[in-house]
């Protein structure tokens, strides 16, 4: 489109005239949707895989969805007809729901959310329903927190690689900036003190006021939970700099490793920082889109110990309230403790088995991943498949995988990774058969390349050495994190 505009001057002038009438948000690329992350999606839309109707189509591995446990929710619905038909104790509450638009949200829903969040954290910490602010998905929750904490031009520090959608959610309409905290594969992409300090200095060099740090824990795209060491580091850092910490814990219920999920709330408790000034600067974002696999229902939440933030965010939630029929349905679902405990356990089991399948499938193609213990994806190491250690080569490889292998995976550069060659590959948004097919295609592709031929020739040797590498990564990570789940 733009190429043709350059040749037609009149048309170009007209279009730029028209664009001047609109806001800068329309004309800028702040929504971030020209990034490769989204282009892969567009390719998928044009040619989506279907087992029967389009077996040669593109397999979607770029969408972090959890499709593994719908059957559990469906069977709950079958056993709970009241919730399903907008009734309470057999009486229709349709009118009440139709009219309910109170931005404080449904009390029984917030109570159920608070208890669910507690359950995910092993009931080690408590969440006060009054400190929960509902939002239309964590997309809205994150943006709202930015509006509350940052002026246009203020910066938040984010560890790389990070979820590409943050460029839109945190910056687009708020005018806030993101300054990356560079993490590298040398230590499994963990956050270090020096990386934090460097990012802070960098922000100052750019003339930006740092308002806080935002982390996703467990991490997207890494699929790893933050270690206790990292969490302590973060809390100490924000304490000394007098800034905020946002912990997006949207994947907290997808933790399948043998370690337990450690929330920033755990750390505040353990450091005896509850009810202090610091605790007022720590905020948690949550959503039911990943743990329960319900992204369509748009259920997000902000949890904050700061009354002013709760108050401001509550008012802002008017711009994206949760549908009352959805609040009602989910309050019934999440109040059923028998269901939630069974669900969380089964969800973790299925995710773990699915992740194993992906990892071993990749291994047989001579590909390793960062060892993960959470999330709906793996952070896959394809550096050895790059022609050169550059992002151009990464993009080339990505294009081959998208257009030739017909897999939509997400290149590390779209996640602002500083090292070329890493890709995020999702495993929970398809059937087992589809996953197997994807792995088969990938293996075929790898074996067809020079690298691949080398691999298949000495595959046994290579796999052995790769496994060694994997083990040392694992060992490396374990030495930093809790080994015994019960230990605090």
């Amino acid at each position: 489109l733009f190429v043709s505009l350059f040749f037609d001057h009149n048309l170009f002038d007209l279009k730029s005239e028209k664009m001047k009438q609109l806001s800068t948000k329309v004309t800028s690329n702040g929504h971030g949707q020209d990034s490769s992350y989204f282009l892969g999606w567009e390719e998928y839309e044009k040619n989506p895989y279907d087992e029967i109707k389009n077996p040669n189509g593109m397999i979607q591995m770029g969408l972090a969805e959890n499709q593994l446990c719908f059957d559990l929710i469906e069977s709950w619905l079958a056993k709970n007809p009241d919730a399903a038909s907008l009734k309470r104790k057999g009486q229709s509450i349709f009118k009440e729901l139709a009219l309910f638009q109170d931005y404080h949200g449904m009390p029984e829903f917030k109570k159920a959310m608070a208890e669910f969040m507690e359950e995910i954290r092993g009931n080690r910490v408590t969440f006060d329903p009054k400190k929960i602010v509902l939002a239309a998905g964590s997309t809205s929750a994150n943006e709202t927190l930015m509006f509350c904490l940052a002026e246009p031009g203020d910066a938040f520090l984010l560890p790389t690689p990070y979820y590409p959608g943050f460029d839109r959610d945190l910056k687009w309409r708020t005018g806030a900036e993101i300054v990356p905290i560079h993490c590298s594969s040398s230590n499994g992409f963990q956050i270090t003190e020096s990386a934090l300090q460097q990012a802070y200095q960098q922000a100052h060099k750019l003339g930006l006021k740092v308002k806080g740090v935002l982390v996703t824990n467990p991490s997207n795209p890494l699929g790893t939970a933050l270690t206790r060491r990292e969490l302590n580091l973060l809390v100490d850092f924000i304490t000394s700099k007098n800034i905020h910490l946002i912990s997006d814990e949207i994947y907290s219920g997808t933790m399948f490793g043998f370690e337990q999920f450690i929330s920033v709330m755990d750390v505040l408790k353990d450091k005896k920082l509850e009810n202090t000034e610091v605790s007022k600067r720590v905020h948690v974002v949550y959503s039911l889109s990943k743990d329960l696999g319900l992204p369509g229902f748009r259920v997000g939440a902000i949890y904050s110990n700061d009354d002013m933030i709760v108050s401001a965010a509550t008012k802002m939630s008017s711009f994206g309230l949760v549908s009352s029929q959805t609040q009602y349905l989910l309050s019934a679902l999440l109040s059923d403790k028998k269901f939630t405990s069974q669900y969380l356990e089964e969800n973790q089991k299925r995710l773990k088995s699915r992740q194993k399948r992906l990892v071993s499938g990749l291994e047989s193609a001579g590909i390793t991943c960062l060892r993960s213990n959470a999330g709906l994806f793996c952070w896959v190491d394809m550096r050895h498949l790059l022609d050169t250690n550059t992002f151009e080569a990464e993009l080339d490889l990505w294009k081959k995988i998208v257009y030739n292998v017909k897999l939509n995976i997400s290149p590390g550069s779209s996640c602002h990774c500083t090292e070329p060659g890493w890709f995020r590959v999702c495993f929970a948004n398809m059937s087992e058969d589809t996953l197997d097919l994807a792995l088969k295609r990938l293996k075929t592709f790898v074996e067809s390349t020079d690298c691949g031929r080398m691999i298949s020739r000495s595959s046994h040797e290579r796999l052995k050495s790769l496994r060694k590498k994997t083990v040392s990564n694992w060992v490396f990570r374990v030495s930093w994190s809790d080994r015994v789940p019960d230990e605090r």
Partner: protein, 496 residues
Amino acid sequence: MGSLKKSGGVNGAILSRIATNDQHGENSEYFHGWKSYDKDPFHLSRNPHGVIQMGLAENQLCLDLIKEWIKENPKASVCTPEGVHQFSDIANFQDYHGLKEFRQAIAHFMGKARGGRVTFDPERIVMSGGATGANETIMFCLADPGDVFLVPSPYYAAFDRDLRWRTGVEIVPVHCSSSNNFKLTVEAVEWAYKKAVESNKNVKGLLFTNPSNPLGTILDKDTLKNLVRFVTKKNIHLVVDEIYAATVFAGENFVSVAEVVKDSEVNADLIHIVYSLSKDMGLPGFRVGIVYSYNDSVVSCARKMSSFGLVSSQTQFMLASMLSDDSFVDNFLMESSKRLGIRHGVFTLGLKKAGINCLISTAGLFVWMDLRHLLRVRNSFESEIELWHIIIDKVKLNVSPGSSFQCTEPGWFRVCFANMDDDTLHVALLRIQDFVSKNSNKTAEKASDNDQVIQNNNAKKQKWKQSNLRLSFRRLYEDGLSSPGIMSPHSPLLRT
């Protein structure tokens, strides 16, 4: 920099200006009425002396029809045994284009609500978090911080928050007055535009609600056409919030801006519509807002922004089914219009008995009530607030004072009539009648009762002659109709 919390330290911990300023408007004194209601809510049997909520523009008159439809169509819910086979697909669906069936059904419904006089393109339907979200989104798309939108007053109080709070956009009111029944004129808009430009403001557009909140009036076709030509000439945007489109219960047909956009003198890229199901269908809880723009770039941008306020797929799915049911929709629109008309008639007649007039209106869920004659000091906003406090605290009705809508003339109040049952409305009317008769006893000069009544009647007749109110009410008064009765929406008495 707004109020600084005692959060210690100099820089980082301070919250944003947006979080600490009052631009959300909720600390205004106008929330006194709501607070009083929350403390002491009316209930026919449990709390018959409580405050009756007449400040909430809700449409509760036709929820029974919707409830019935839902009961008879279990397939429309993804949770029932009949619909659960769709559960996983729908629960998983977060595409910001929205369900195609939903967009088609909304476009279809919007056309029907406008009597089939226009059609809407489903590809231009963009979701938002209610009209609240839609109005904010359209501002983000059309204006930058510091830009101005002209908005005719009196206007919906929450526009101050929706259009300005997080967007940084400024509202410059186009004041309308009772001298011409608060009608919006092109001249008034032109004047306001000129003044704004002269003070170096960057005017980006004009936004108004049609049918109007709080007036309940609809814009005539000629004025609408001229306004559309005006914005085209000045190359500024026009946003019409048509949230009350299907609440028309009498009189002329509602003319949507969609009907005049095809005019050759109109630049369609400047025309945008905001819509919602919160008023027409009475479903504010379901958060269904729509941005509809004739400008492709705006559609594209608004759609990306809709990620911040998508409609729950559970709700999309249900409404897609409901709104494509033609026989349901046709019956619903007809019944809704009828019931609103009856309710409006009962209420205005009851007010008449108390000597209270309202602006003639043919739409909306409220009346614009004229209480100027009850002000202690004429033309004083202080008196308006005083009167308002009396109405809340003594008469126990939560109504909305005109000043909360930026009305420039004291003494007008918006009173909602569709958010309660018939019995409650009856109680409200009795209280009003009671209050007015007590009040006129107090303010009358010392004279015999008869003289007093005659004087009051004369005063009222004077007011009749002075006011610009239409013929029909005078006829009602002189006919001496004493009982509310049932007024057909097609009654010649209502048609003006």
